[in-house]
Symmetry: C2
Subunit: 140 residues, 2 copies
C-alpha cells in the first residue's frame, strides 16, 4: 500500500485539498493516518469515498443527506429504503427547481425581448421589475 498525499487524493478524486480537510473536519471523511512529518496519508478506500461524496454533491445532495448515504454504503446489508427516499426527495426538489427556473426563463425572455435598447424609462427590464403586475407568471 503506497501512501497517498492529500494533493494526490485531490487530483484523483476531483475534490480540492482544502475541501478534503473540510470534509474531515465535519466528519464525512475519517481522519487519515499521518506520515512522520504529520502529513495526511490516504488509502484507496478514501479515494472511493471522496469520489462518492463529490458525485453526490454534484447531484445536489446536501452534506447531511450524504452523511446518511455514506452510512448506508457502510452497511450494505441494510434495506435501502432510506437511500431511495433521499434520492426521491432530491428528485422532487430538482423537478420543482426546474419548473421554477422555466418560469423565470420565460419572464426574463419577455424582459429581454421587450427591451427596445432605448432609454431606461422605456426599458421593459426595469419596468417589469418595478411593476410585478406585468409578470406573466404569478407564482412568486
Amino acid at each position: 500500500m503506497k501512501k497517498i498525499t492529500i494533493g494526490e487524493a485531490a487530483r484523483k478524486s476531483g475534490v480540492k485539498v482544502p475541501t478534503i480537510r473540510y470534509y474531515e473536519g465535519i466528519g464525512l471523511l475519517r481522519e487519515p493516518s499521518r506520515s512522520e512529518g504529520n502529513q495526511r496519508s490516504y488509502e484507496q478506500s478514501d479515494l472511493h469515498r471522496l469520489t462518492f461524496i463529490r458525485h453526490a454533491r454534484e447531484l445536489g445532495f446536501e452534506v447531511e443527506a450524504i452523511r446518511t448515504l455514506l452510512s448506508l454504503q457502510d452497511n450494505p446489508l441494510q434495506p435501502c429504503a432510506s437511500a431511495d427516499a433521499i434520492a426521491k426527495a432530491r428528485l422532487v426538489e430538482v423537478e420543482q427547481r426546474i419548473r421554477s427556473l422555466l418560469a423565470l426563463k420565460a419572464e426574463l425572455e419577455m424582459m429581454v425581448e421587450g427591451c427596445g435598447h432605448g432609454r431606461v424609462d422605456q426599458c421593459r427590464v426595469i419596468e417589469v421589475l418595478a411593476d410585478h403586475a406585468q409578470c406573466t407568471h404569478h407564482g412568486h
Copy 2:
C-alpha cells in the same frame, strides 16, 4: 403622508423585517427618517423600491446586479443597455442551470427506478453514487 413602520413595510412589500434592515445596511435602501422614539419611518417610494428588490431577488439577480438595476431606475434618461446586459446574463445563467438540472433529473430518475427496494448492496442509488462510470451523463 402617513408614516409607515418597518412592520407595515414588510407586510406590504413581502420583504421580512430583518431583511429590510439588512438591505439598509448594505446600502440597497436609503436610511429612512425616524420617529421620536427612533423607529424607522418609511414612505411610499421605499415600498416601491422594496418590491423592486424582492422581485429581482425572486428572479435570482444577485445583490450587486440589483444595485446596478436600481441605479439605472434612478436615472431613467440613461440608455438601458446595462439593464439589458444584466438581464441577458441572468437568462444565460438560468438556461445553463436548467440544462444541468435536467441532466441531474435524468440521473436521479435512473437511480430511483433502478432501486429494487431490497438491500443496500443491490441498491442502484448507492451504486451509481459510488461508481461514476455508471452515469448516463458525463458533463460533471
